[in-house]
Amino acid sequence: MSVIQRPLALLVGPQEMGRTWYFWVGFVIVIGVGAAAPQYLGRFDLLNLANFLTSIFLALSLCLIWGFCGILSLGQAAFLGLGGYAYGVAGINFIESHGNTWAALGIGLAVPVALAAVLGFVMFYARLKGVYVAILMLVVTLLFETFLNQTAGQGWFIGDAHLGGNNGLGRFSGVIKRPPSFIFSEGGIKFLGKSYAFFYLTFGLAVLCYLGLRIMVNSKLGFVMVAIREDPERTEALGYDVRLIQLIVFCVSALLASMSGILYVSWGRFITPDVFGVYNNILPVIWVAVAGRKSLTATVIGTLVLVWMSQRLTETDYAFVVLGGILVGAMLLLPEGVITGIVDRSAGLRARLAARLRARA
């Protein structure tokens, strides 16, 4: 197969829903409608949509490790938050003074991945039970929250960046420097948080990540991931180093989560220790579990719907009770996820209908 054919074949491989021509027609329409958003959305709504889109990376990060590799992490926000802080601190030091966005981005991505590599090495090479991995990740992220909350003192400067305790990085601008947006000195391209450019950047990255992950889960590595999810012992017997693969996937997932954090910081130009808190950890679990953890497509759609819904609900006091109820309800009634459940059921229905038609003919 040629260089182009192969990735295309992987794009529609069996590990992900959407292998029909009408799926891709729908996909192109969605991309078109999305890309045209600046034409019909007001400034505020567009800003909001860009913010929604940053959640997708976090959701996909959990979908990848939990849905495809069988590792549940209840602390994905650790990577989001660390990415955000690392980018913010580096940005204040590099972008403001030297205009070096690439360095800030690199640091924002590298720090969380390094954390994932260390934690993952300890946990997976010890063949730790899944429940332990899940709760240890939660403990790790909550400790980051506690730690950053007590960095209000004057001692907590990294270069020009003040960690700022519970006010966070750059919450109160003025004396203290705020984390900058992406500014590329080559060609003077800026992605200011409130601009169209930022919306397109996030949108484009989300689409790329979605397509890239589709290729990944249908690659050789993707099949091995699923094999590990289904039966790690058997997968070892087939000659795969399960620990190493878990570690690699965990690092990729940290990378995705940190993209959420970096985009969030460059969007709003601040970040507080709250990003490490319980809500940022349970929300992705809700999105992914309710939508359907074994599907990237379901995850993206479900996340957008649920984020939009919770924003509606935050005007009431019931938001989290409702979300918790949706989670428990979905787990009880459609444990594979609502969207996946509907798709599977309608496929079953179609098959039965076709069979009946054939029988009649």
Binding site: M1, P14, K220, F223, V224, V226, A227, E230, D231, E233, R234, T235, E236, A237, L238, G239, Y240, D241, V242
Partner: protein
């Protein structure tokens, strides 16, 4: 040096000594049956041989190397192929994708397709490439699991209850398959409950009981062994006593 040598191998789960000081060795090209009552430690022994469980005590040598601490994937590449008792085939994937897992280490493209076709032919599974594994009959899934172990091109093949859930006809075919693989020079150990199948194999037998090697010898010698017959009966008798006490 034998192909595989095991000395004083032991593994306990909590208070249960699943494998308890087993000595065991296999020459290159041997075919061996392992029998023993339920819970005798047969499956645990296989897991220790592959390395998915690490022993509390004892040593394992394979192809002149001490592999006691080696990881399972390393041993798999050294030539230990296993079909575990639980099937471990991937139900949501097609037969082809299942077969790709062991093959994609070394093959791709047309070479892979040819090899899959060759193996499936041999396993009586020709034509099932695109079927979801969950849709296969139980016996076919057993064959697929054996096929995935074979696809690793093992030097030593461990089969844990390969005929479980099969009818007599399928069991016989499995027997011929084992013989034909053996004739190619692969060393094979089969754990089996079904004495008819053990007879069909006609190979020397090792009897495990409470995690220990209870008896070892030719098929005929083992079948005539009074003690061996007793432990099969005795095992059910102690069970009855135990449950009454509760």
């Amino acid at each position: 040096m034998p192909l595989l040598e095991v000395k004083n191998l032991s593994k306990a789960f909590g208070g249960v000594r699943a494998v308890d000081g087993v000595d065991f060795s296999l020459e290159q090209g041997e075919l061996r049956s392992i029998i023993g009552p339920n819970g005798a430690g047969k499956s645990t022994l296989f897991k220790l041989l592959l390395g998915s469980i690490k022993p509390d005590k004892g040593k394992i040598w394979f192809r002149d190397r001490d592999v006691t601490r080696a990881e399972p994937h390393t041993r798999a590449h050294m030539g230990i192929g296993v079909k575990f008792q639980h099937l471990g085939v991937y139900g949501d994937l097609t037969v082809r994708h299942n077969m790709q897992l062991p093959l994609q280490h070394s093959l791709s493209g047309e070479a892979m397709d040819a090899e899959i076709a060759r193996l499936l032919e041999r396993l009586n599974l020709a034509g099932t490439e695109e079927r979801r594994v969950a849709e296969l009959a139980h016996g076919q899934r057993q064959w697929l699991a054996i096929g995935m172990a074979l696809a690793m091109r093992p030097v030593l093949l461990l089969l844990d209850e390969p005929t479980a859930g099969m009818g007599p006809e399928e069991t016989r075919e499995t027997g011929s398959l084992v013989h034909s693989v053996h004739e190619e020079g692969v060393t094979i150990v089969v754990v089996e409950h079904d004495m008819a199948f053990v007879r069909q194999l006609g190979a020397p037998v090792t009897v495990l009981h409470y995690g220990r090697v209870f008896a070892e010898g030719s098929l005929a010698a083992i079948e005539d062994n009074e003690d061996v017959r007793n432990i099969y009966l005795g095992a059910s008798r102690t069970m009855a006593v135990r449950s009454r006490r509760h």
